[in-house]
Amino acid sequence: MQLQQMYQEIILDHYKNPHGRGLRDPFDAESFQVNPTCGDEVTLRVKLDGEIVSDVSYDGQGCSISQASTSVLTDLVVGRPVGEAFKKMDAFVELMQSRGQIEPDEDVLEDGIAFAGVSKYPARVKCALLGWMAFKDAVARSQGAA
């Protein structure tokens, strides 16, 4: 069954045991993003410590893909400088838009490489990017506010 290709164990693990879930204080900015086709939504908060992403907390309703990718996101960006976090985001976005044509770099994306299979399903790419869009927006807001 092709399904396993998409729903890698790693994804299902993050889905069942999401990292960093729940909205926390303090935070610098919050972003609410919604996927207009399916109604999935995420509210995501960012706390910056100078250039460092010191916390990402989130809540929302969504499918396994959107929930797992947001969980992976927290692993990838928390504790890292914003610039590095954005590089990871770019790599993840590129992977998701690759239609399975890119070999992801585990050094950069860690558990994120599990989403390579998802990129073959264009309708799910938006799911995988939902949390990342919120992250991008929240960072922009916190920097705009700063």
């Binding site: 092709q2 399904l3 729903y7 086709t37 399916c38 939504e41 499918c63 399903y121 799910r124």
Partner: protein, 425 residues
């Protein structure tokens, strides 16, 4: 229209639909349960459109040459057959690009009434006036009214839903009042299949002199509909949901109203006289068909209506009812499945939405897709309805004449498969 009670010969019918014999996802046979979003096309419709394009294509209403005459005849002939199919007169049908345009046409034309002549005064809306919709509406028959209200200062009001997803009509007179100018509502919900009591709403609207606008997108393709008998003022539906082409919809308007309604989209073919200083407009339906129309698409929709008539719309309706009953039964036998909307098939068309505990609709849809089963997941352009029924989104199976009981079984099996895959059963 055939009224014989003989059941459909679905196997024979299916042979008319080329796409149904294809496979998906590594050789799975296609189980297409997404006709509520868009239907598939029989060869008869494809052939009719192609024959038109290979033999008669020309600009309609504009040329004096033979092709133009033939094209005009085919285009207007289709209008006549479609009018017959829905109980309307020839001049009461306007071709639009989809049903959505139809609702917008009425809403914008009403907005234009304020700057039009005295015959349009009955359409004017403004502060103090009320526009009534329902929480069950597809966005197509909701957002245009929100926007009209926002542009004109009118107030939007709505009927709420009962917990099983029917219209709460317990207090009609507090919703539809003498201030009401329009009551826009769906004939049949695209999510739950719920069929609304058109008579009750038309009577209430008439009592206060309000216009009625019916969303007939999900009723016309699946059941015998006669707009004149229903007594609605306007109605809109789409070709692509009834075996016809995409890119064509139909707006019905009572003759007297269309005659007084100001234009919406303006340009060629809808004018009477054009000077730089100003223009006057043609009578309906031309007034509402600016620009080069959906010529071959009208011909295709005419062929679709012919096809539905030959098969028999009552028989199609009965067949879909059987499938709906089977789906409701099958799905409610699966532990962890929550049906959204009514749990029975009374006053309900062939749409069955549901949730699976512990499996997000998008994930459920993916598992079904991997088995070749095409359903729709999400809010199906009816976000408020989902909120009312406490669902963030849903999985929706919809049926049409070419679906079979086997396919319903495949759906139910697929749901169990999804539960297994996500470890919730």
């Amino acid at each position: 229209m055939t009224t014989t009670a003989a059941p459909l010969d679905v196997t024979a019918l299916r042979a008319d639909f080329p796409i149904l014999s294809r496979t998906v996802r590594d050789g799975k046979r296609l189980v297409y349960l997404d006709s509520g979003a868009t239907s598939q096309r029989p060869t008869q419709v494809l052939d009719a459109e192609r024959a038109f394009l290979e033999r008669h294509n020309a600009a309609v209403h504009r040329g004096a040459h033979q092709l133009a005459e033939e094209a005009t005849d085919e285009y207007e002939g289709a209008r006549q057959r479609i009018a017959d199919f829905v109980g309307a007169d020839f001049g009461e049908l306007v071709f639009t690009k989809n049903a959505t345009e139809g609702f917008n046409l009425v809403a914008y034309a009403m907005g234009n009434a304020a700057t039009s002549g005295p015959e349009a005064a009955r359409f004017v809306v403004g502060p103090g006036d009320e526009i009534v919709v329902t929480e069950m509406e597809h966005h197509a028959n909701l957002v245009p009214w929100q926007q009209l209200a926002a542009r004109t200062g009118a107030t939007l009001k709505w009927f709420k839903l009962t917990p099983d997803g029917r219209l709460d009509l317990s207090d009609v007179d507090s919703v539809i009042t003498p201030r009401t100018k329009v009551v826009a509502f769906t004939h049949q919900s695209n999510v739950t299949g719920v069929i609304n009591p058109v008579d009750v709403l038309v009577a209430a609207a008439r009592k206060v002199g309000a216009l009625t606008v019916l969303d007939a997108c999900q009723s016309v393709p699946h059941s015998p509909v006669n707009f004149r008998k229903l007594g609605v003022d306007f109605a809109s539906f789409s070709g692509h949901k009834m075996l016809g082409p995409s890119g064509i919809g139909v707006l019905y308007g009572r003759r007297e109203l269309l005659e007084a309604l100001p234009p919406f989209i303006t340009g060629g073919s809808m004018i009477e006289l054009v000077k730089m200083e100003g223009s006057t407009f043609a009578p309906p339906p031309a007034r509402f068909e600016a620009g080069s129309p959906m010529t071959s698409q009208a011909v295709g929709l005419g062929a679709a209506v012919d096809y539905l008539s030959v098969v028999g719309i009552e028989r199609i309706n009965a067949h879909e009812h059987d499938l709906t009953v089977a789906a409701l039964e099958g799905l409610s036998s699966v532990k962890g499945v929550r049906l959204i909307g009514p749990s029975d098939a009374v006053n309900r068309g062939g749409a069955v939405p549901f949730e699976i505990e512990g499996v997000h609709p998008h994930d459920a849809g993916q598992v079904l897709d991997s088995l070749g089963i095409a359903v729709r997941v999400g809010h199906h352009c009816a976000w408020p309805l989902h909120r009312c029924l406490n669902a963030q989104s849903s999985v929706r199976a919809t049926f049409y004449l070419y679906n079979t009981l086997d396919e319903v079984d495949a759906l139910v099996d697929g749901v169990r498969e999804a539960q297994k895959f996500f470890g919730v059963a």
